[in-house]
Subunit: 543 residues, 2 copies
């Protein structure tokens, strides 16, 4: 059993390590001004200037369950659990306008205290928001109390156990472990989990499970829901624990029920995951494809030939162009890229990033297999330097977002997925909807997309949009664009989320996603496991 130290707190008003900035070059700023028009830089208030609603007193039956110093009611701690990291979250935080906040933050010591808290909150009618890293970009930790008057945030940072079964290559991880902590504890024993979503630095194991997170190397290591072998979830009516056997045919999968439950059924307190020996070798490369359509076909060929690199992502023409200009987004330097292109007599094209990890032999063997398919499909290799550059910047995008917001831009992302045969229509539909909605807001924008998380039957699409913000109307502006994109996804038959989860933002689209009978099934589960409806109100299920 190992226990690592928690990472430093994130910026309260933005993303990540407060000492770190990913700055935009003057050229990049000029390009944005040129394409998006003038934007009014965004101010932000000081921590003390943020107004929170008065904390309501909580029953001693609830607060008495944890140690006295594990009940936090001070301004900063409540503020830090009052929002996630979506664009509207950041807008509200920077403006100091929070309409809701937890009445207290409770830090249970173990699963037994979680159980006791849920039972007490059920009896007392206190809403509960389970809190891991607070990195939700879909309103997953909104302090919305639903029908209740009081709300607590249950912060799981004290549940950070690490137990390793080296024979079965399985680890039991506490939900409060952040990505780097879990990796450090595993690395100390020679292992890796291999789960590297963009939120890696701050997101937690419990959050990965509760939201069906997918890492950048999901083709190699598996999405988080693929990695999970067992789960324990405390619910208001008792403990749900699945066996840790590698597979079972004993009925509907309760593991798959707890995965993605987003805190509305209970609190995940233990996660069994498959681990791997830490990779002996890593190879990251950039390739180029003539255009996004043929590049997507290239990725399909890789997936269907079982030749997918562990990391595979292809940017569309716009993302390739913009990410080269905003050096740091993809980490691929423009000059370098263009030099390569000249060398090969090409202009334009789409950037493909590939990565292989594992034993040296395996990396070389699989790289050769992928390269054969890439070349056959019209890809040209740019080399390792831009690949390594991507790797160095792989967690930078949310830092860059803070810079863009500072400069006065709205910047947001969304993701979906579909089968290969319908992916092109989905891409066109969402892009068109985003562009039209941005124009409708009188803020024509840049719409970028990459294809990642490829499967034999399809892939995910990840969109980013950037536009000048509408000062004072940021939330309405965002809402209009988000709604247009979501409706386009539904119209094309895509999923409302490939790996960001549902939260509050996507809850209105769950009827389209799972149908009325599906909703009824989820509601029946919710009602049985959370009879007082205290668990994370307003998330996942539409009201």
């Amino acid at each position: 059993m190992a226990e690592a130290h928690p990472p430093p707190d994130s910026k309260w008003w933005g993303w990540g390590d407060p000492s770190r900035r990913v700055e935009l070059s003057e050229t990049a700023r000029a390009m944005l001004r040129d394409q998006l028009g003038a934007a009014q830089p965004a101010e932000r208030v000081g921590l003390d200037q943020v107004t929170l609603p008065q904390a309501r007193p909580l029953p001693a039956a609830v607060t008495g369950i944890v140690d006295e110093d594990c009940v936090q009611i001070d301004h900063e701690q409540r503020l830090r659990r009052a929002a996630g990291k979506s664009y509207p979250d950041l807008v509200r935080l920077r403006a100091g306008r929070l309409e809701a906040a937890p009445d207290a933050v409770l830090l249970p010591a173990d699963a037994a205290q979680v159980t006791a808290l849920l039972a007490a909150c059920t009896r007392e009618g206190v809403a509960v928001v389970p809190f891991g890293g607070g990195t939700s970009v879909v309103g997953g930790v909104d302090p919305y109390a639903g029908p209740h008057e009081r709300l607590i945030s249950i912060d799981l940072r004290r549940l950070r156990r690490v137990e390793i079964d080296p024979v079965s290559l399985v680890a039991r991880l506490g939900p409060g472990l952040r990505g780097p902590e879990a990796e450090a504890a595993l690395a100390a024993r020679g292992y890796t989990l291999g789960h590297f979503p963009q939120s890696f630095e701050y997101a937690t194991v419990g959050g990965f499970a509760a939201t069906r997170s997918a890492g950048q190397a999901s083709s190699g290591y598996g999405r988080f829901d693929d990695l999970v072998t067992s789960l324990t979830m405390e619910t208001p009516v008792g403990r749900l624990a699945t066996l840790d056997t590698p597979h079972t045919a004993a009925g509907p999968s309760l593991r798959q029920l707890a995965l993605g439950s987003e805190g509305v059924l209970g609190v995940i307190t233990d996660v069994g995951v498959r681990i791997r020996p830490a990779p002996e070798a890593r190879r990251y490369e950039a390739w180029i494809s003539p255009d996004f359509a043929s590049g997507s076909e290239l990725v399909r060929s890789l997936a269907q030939a079982d030749a997918l690199p562990d990391i595979t992502r292809i940017s569309d023409e716009a993302e390739t162009r913009v990410s080269l200009a905003l050096a740091g987004t993809s980490g691929v330097k423009k000059a370098l890229f263009e030099a390569y292109l000249r060398l090969r007599g090409r202009h334009g094209g789409c950037l493909v990033v590939c990565g292989w990890e594992g034993e040296r032999d395996s990396v070389e063997r699989r790289r050769a297999l992928s390269a054969r398919v890439l070349r056959k499909g019209g890809g040209a290799v740019l080399g390792e330097a831009p690949g390594r550059s991507w790797e160095r910047g792989r967690f930078d995008a949310p830092y860059l977002r803070d810079e863009l917001i500072d400069l006065g831009y709205m910047v947001e992302t969304l993701e979906t997925s579909h089968t290969w045969s319908r992916l092109g229509d989905l891409y066109a539909g969402v892009e068109r909807a985003l562009e039209a909605a941005l124009r409708g807001q009188r803020t024509p924008g840049i719409v970028l997309c990459h294809l990642s998380h490829a499967y034999r039957d399809g892939a995910s699409l990840y969109f980013t949009w950037i536009a000048a913000r509408r000062p004072g109307a940021e939330i309405e502006q965002w809402q209009a664009v988000k709604q247009a994109a979501s409706e386009a996804i539904v119209a094309a038959g895509g999923t409302i989320t490939h790996h960001h989860a549902v939260g509050r933002d996507h809850a209105p689209y769950m009827a389209a996603e799972v149908g009325e009978t599906g909703l009824e099934a989820l509601r029946a589960l919710k009602h049985r496991l959370d009879p007082a409806a205290v668990m994370n109100p307003g998330k996942l299920l539409p009201d």
Copy 2:
């Protein structure tokens, strides 16, 4: 859209094609007599001599939904849906003692008729057993009406649609397609599903989904639940349909809820599955490992090095010995095997069967990778002839069981799984329990085991036991042994079933499997989707 012809009906009193027998040699019979003592050959009555309870009349509101000739109430058709293919099922059929049977067999033409039937049965209080191939070995199609007086069998054989998306490599399959029909329809277009459980010849696509079936080549193609991309299930309160996107993070997985639901929540009417190009090459080989313990380690090495063949199974010492004696069980000829052993100066050992399928290059490349690990772990190759021999006999075991039952033996199988670190204890515990229980019945038996369906974190164990039957007390004898083995599985923390499903036989162990909270979750779902509790009473959930 293709539609293939249905295969011939199975033997009503046993398994498979009536024109086919897998006979035991005189040597094999002698070995059994020698080891198990004298057994009293089992008689079987004629079809007309089987007594069924009188069919109760059904409301016209139910029978009127399908065409007149799609309501079958004759003796043979009722009899054919009155039991599955477990040992106790066959004992009862052969003795002509069936205590229950459907009052009628209804054959809906499409999903809309299924919906209408479920709604009508809910209103009228008529129990429903969904029926595919009728190959359950765990009482999954027992015509048990629960709280109701009348029961119908809904036979899905008319739902046999095949639609292929060649770009996404996905097929939509009707639930009534039997294994060979689905494969034939796919093969005609150059594809394969790659799902070959031992029940392949008679089991259906709907059954594969409803029971989380696992095929012999699951390491290569995936278990059936891995292959499924989308599902439609008609429930008494409406249609549950999941999107066909390759992945979603939109909440708990409803696909994983319908998978394994064993007809207790609804009837699966459409299954989207990943398909692959039909393999260009197939290579099956036998290897030998000094003993089962080191052979299991060998398979673990393969799995953890990502070097698993598409098919990997290792028999323990007893199964190796017996399957060689009962030529046909594994299809590996004894003389051939022994010749190989002599050639390599070995005696005894455990048989390992490996198979690779796919493009010629891929087969050779992956075979070389596996062979390196196998050799390093002490395995010795026996060659392709015994591997091909295994392949020819891969669906023979249930035919052989009929022969053994004819001769007077009880023969039954069960399966479980666990992590590698606990697999040895599970193996020892179940073997001990089976042997002790058989001795307790005064019929000491042979207990055989193989390890198959290996994963990075563990594997399944598949046990077979053979003993002289106790004439007139066959069911009690079976029950005592089954119970002892099941309790040993629970004590060792294994799953009560890796791929046979729960049915009625394993329902008593579901509390140990999923806990009380897990049971409550499943019951809440059942209650919401099947409020009149008409769907497959007594299966999956304990009463």
